[in-house]
């Protein structure tokens, strides 16, 4: 084989060896290996409002103390839940740590700003403390995926921001 042909063959071989790009990833049904964060199953109840834009899953390391803390969630760009089924598995990539509130946030169609958050956002369901289901459950993430953080999203029982953080009385 001439040197020119050898070079050509080497070039093609190098190219062929490179073909390991993106591949399909089935939607997970358990925490994927190597994943760091929170996983679980969300069960849907109630009728999905027609004005639904999207439903996010987010986590707060400290339970918000007021509207000013509302945007202190992780991750920066939260995953959305696929709607239409009776339940779905979710993965929430968050750093190692302790999270006091893991919840689903329903968003109405429209442009979200801090000032209109109360009318466009609803708490749609959250992970509850197994010992006291009236309270939010605390989730610990320690270097792997913390699985089975399951909760219910009830479209008939959603709460606006003002439900959790009532505005103080305004001076007359």
């Amino acid at each position: 084989m001439s040197r020119a042909r050898r070079l050509g063959a080497a070039l093609v071989a190098a190219g062929l060896a490179c073909n390991d790009g993106l591949a399909p990833i089935p939607a997970p049904t358990s925490c994927p290996p190597g994943f760091v964060g929170i996983c679980g199953t969300v069960t849907f109840r109630g009728a999905i409002p027609e004005s639904t834009d999207v439903v996010y899953v987010v986590a707060y390391d400290t339970f918000p103390q007021g509207p000013d803390d509302l945007f202190d969630f992780v991750p920066l760009l939260p995953p959305t839940l696929p709607l239409g089924g009776s339940a779905t598995f979710y993965t929430l990539p968050v750093p190692e740590g302790r999270y006091e509130w893991v919840l689903a946030v329903w968003k109405k169609q429209g442009q979200l700003t801090i000032s209109n958050a109360d009318s466009l956002l609803r708490e749609a369901g959250f992970f509850r403390d197994p010992a006291d289901t009236t309270r939010a459950g605390v989730v610990a993430v320690s270097g792997i995926g913390t699985d089975e953080i399951d909760f219910v999203v009830d479209f008939d029982m959603m709460h606006p921001v003002s439900y959790w953080f009532p505005m103080p009385p305004q001076p007359r």
């Binding site: 490179c18 073909n19 399909p24 089935p26 945007f71 959305t80 709607l83 979200l112």
Partner: protein, 726 residues
């Protein structure tokens, strides 16, 4: 009363000189061939010391009129061949034959460039790295836009249409390029966003593209912080010529059935027609064409129309007027982000790279852009020449979103005067003044103006074996008519040696004024609000380079460079996670350093040329707020290109392999899947008489990858192109 010369007076004097025919001039004509007798189309023939030049046609024929009576030194250039010089005797009213046979030579040694010093010089005399994209590079890659071939040049990396020279720009959705685009020396960056429209000039016009790496602000001012790309257009050959090019092709389907997104295969096609005419005094070309693409992914169809015209008029042997202009319209769908689970019909997949997030379905953009430019040049004497130019670039777009439409209309007006004085054979001084006024009227950028006014000077002098360059430019910037802010950009450089081995070193300060878009943008990129930052100020950087160019004889060339850039107040988008806001801000400091290596060689047979280009890039931004020191986003550590072309006439076969390492850091969706870029392009060509047929398979292995998060890069694309030349 004393009088003083004015521009109008100079113009009047030039016009009064009368056309070439009225002067004591003669004609030289002939052919340019290689040593086997094959015609060399597009060889440039120039009468030395004048602005008279022409281009050989497909049969290698040329004709150059208007040469002054007496001995005339003719120079014939073509990349890949040795420069030929010959003195011919010109007689008034007569013509003389001069045929040239060019000998193959080192690819770039002895080649002329015009960008690095804002005047003509040999490539080996440039104090900074210059990469060239030749007409042949453009032709054999069947490109429809010039950036598709510039992408293959050493040290260049494209990211969703945004050019990076040695990692200069990163990625900010087209805003704020740190590379200045020139068309025949005329700046063409957009007035509102500072970005680049690569399709302002038809591909068939380009004679070559010069890519100057490193800070070019000492001559070009703002925008040239990372480098300059200059598209040099060709003069039409003598008489009437027509060139028609038709291209058709198809996009590969997704390699996995679960990613299927349409019933039929997507296609693309284009038609371009260029007509040109040249007489002894006048030359011109006009081009029109359209392109359609179904796109390689969902919601990425695109239509494009363009018309362009250029002409030159030789007012006198030493005086030339160039006029050019174009207008292009694009209508395209916008596939901003791919679909992740729950945002489209995901088929049970975590993500669907060929589909878009359904919330953005229907988004599209209408975009129009065009320019007119006039350049008057005169070589008054062998020691003195000057150039005047004026240009107007206009861009407008409307984004159609479900949530509401956005629009912008922007203008960029520019004028420049430049004088080049050669004091002796060993020294030259370039002095100039330039003014640029940009304005925008937009619902997302507001209504604003930005003025840039500058003077500059650069001197080059041969001191023994050292060619020393020193110069500086001072720019005065004004926003909305406010007070002027001055920025000084000095540069010093040296070149040692000549011919086979050349060392070069340079140090220069560059700057970039933020574009009106970066400064005043107010928009929403769900779920973020993008906020204006009127206090954003110019970024500056010191760039250093040590380079070496060596001829490998008939084998080829080697060029290596080490570069180091220290930037202050670097402008990058900052994401505020707590308020869902993005804002362009000045970073305190940033560093970009690395090595550039480019080798071209014909190691086995003259019919086989190979190329290797490698860039090692290290970037760091200084700690800020709570963030530690870290890599700049969207910069690859390694960039490798291999290319080979085998040309057993009348056939050609070639390949390009591009490997770009996975970015260390991106903004947004950092945990999303991303892989390195590894793309193999194949090409085949056949030339028969006036017909040239090309087959191109880009991304031949259908490697599925992305570099920008949630944005699929092009899949395997087949293109068949036929070019007919009359």
């Amino acid at each position: 009363m004393r009088t003083r010369p004015s521009t109008a007076g100079a113009l009047a004097a030039v016009l009064a000189a009368g056309p070439l025919a009225a002067q004591r001039t003669g004609v030289v004509y002939g052919t340019v061939r290689d040593t086997t007798g094959a015609p060399l189309a597009h060889a440039v023939v120039q009468a030395s010391g004048t602005l008279l030049r022409t281009t050989a046609d497909e049969a290698g024929r040329y004709r150059l009129a208007g040469i002054r009576d007496g001995p005339a030194l003719l120079e014939v250039r073509l990349i890949g061949y040795r420069l030929e010089r010959r003195t011919v005797q010109i007689t008034t009213g007569d013509s003389v034959v001069a045929d040239f046979a060019l000998h193959p030579g080192p690819l770039y040694v002895g080649h002329e460039v015009v960008t690095a010093a804002k005047r003509s010089q040999l490539l080996d005399e440039a104090v900074t790295s210059v990469a060239l994209v030749t007409r042949d590079d453009l032709r054999r890659r069947v490109v429809e836009r010039i950036d598709e071939a510039v992408d293959k040049a050493p040290g260049v990396h494209y990211l969703n249409g945004q050019i990076n020279l040695r990692g200069s720009t990163g990625y900010a959705q087209g805003l704020g390029a740190r590379v200045l685009l020139l068309v025949d020396g005329v700046p063409m960056n957009q007035g509102d966003r500072g970005g680049i429209n690569w399709d302002l000039v038809p591909v068939d016009w380009a004679e070559r593209v010069e890519i100057v790496k490193g800070a070019g602000s000492a001559l070009y001012g703002s925008g040239a912080l990372g480098g300059v790309v200059n598209i040099i257009t060709t003069d039409p050959p003598q008489r009437v010529h027509v060139r028609a090019r038709a291209t058709a092709g198809a996009f590969a389907d997704p390699p996995h059935d679960v990613w299927a997104f349409r019933e039929r295969m997507g296609g693309h096609g284009s038609l371009d027609v260029t007509a040109s005419y040249r007489s002894d005094e006048f030359g011109g070309a006009a081009t029109g064409g359209f392109r359609h693409s179904d796109g390689y992914r969902e919601q990425s169809a695109r239509d494009h129309w363009h018309v362009a015209a250029k002409g030159h008029y030789a007012l006198a042997p030493a005086t030339r007027l160039d006029l050019s202009g174009s207008w292009a319209v694009d209508e395209y769908e916008v596939p901003l982000l791919w679909c992740v689970r729950g945002t489209c019909e995901d088929g049970g997949q975590a993500y669907q790279p060929f589909k878009v997030d359904s919330s953005a379905r229907g988004d599209r953009t209408w975009s129009g852009k065009g320019y007119v430019a006039a350049v008057l040049s005169r070589a008054a004497t062998e020691q003195l020449s000057w150039t005047l130019r004026a240009s107007w670039l206009r861009t407008r777009f409307t984004d159609f979103h479900r949530a509401g439409d956005d629009f912008s209309i922007a203008n960029r007006l520019g004028v420049e005067g430049r004088v080049e004085a050669r004091r002796t054979a060993d020294g030259v001084v370039t002095v100039g003044a330039e003014a640029t006024l940009a304005d925008v009227s937009s619902d997302i950028f507001g209504t604003h103006t930005q003025g840039e006014y500058a003077v500059y000077a650069e001197s080059e002098r041969l001191l023994g074996r050292v060619r020393l360059t020193t110069g500086a430019r001072i720019d005065f910037l004004a926003i909305d008519g406010s007070g002027l802010t001055a920025v000084v950009s000095p540069r010093v450089g040296a070149v040692i040696g000549a011919g086979a081995a050349v060392w070069r070193a340079s140090a220069g300060r560059g700057f970039r004024a933020p574009s009106l878009g970066e400064r005043f943008v107010t928009t929403v990129v769900p779920p973020f609000r993008v906020l204006p930052n009127p206090s954003l100020h110019a970024e500056t950087a010191w760039s250093f380079e040590l380079g070496h160019r060596r001829s490998l004889g008939v084998l080829g060339d080697l060029d290596a460079a080490a570069f180091w850039t220290e930037a202050v107040d670097y402008i990058e988008p900052a994401v505020n996670a707590t308020t869902f806001e993005i804002q362009f801000r000045n970073l305190t400091r940033a560093r970009l350093a690395g090595l550039d290596l480019a080798v071209t060689a014909a190691p086995f047979t003259p019919n086989l040329t190979t190329g290797l280009a490698y860039t090692l890039l290290y970037t760091r931004e200084a700690p800020r707020d709570t963030a530690p020191a870290r890599a700049l986003p969207f910069r690859p550590r390694h960039l490798l290109r291999l290319s080979a072309d085998w040309t057993p006439a009348p056939f050609t076969v070639g390949a390009d392999l591009r490997i770009v390492s996975r970015f260390e850091r991106v903004l947004l969706y950092e945990s999303d899947p991303r892989v390195a870029e590894r793309v193999l392009d194949l090409r085949f060509g056949w030339h028969w008489g006036s017909l040239d047929a090309r087959l191109l398979v880009t991304n031949a292995l259908n490697y599925i990858y992305n570099q920008v998060p949630r944005t699929l890069a092009p899949v395997r694309t087949l293109s068949l192109s036929a070019v007919w030349t009359y």
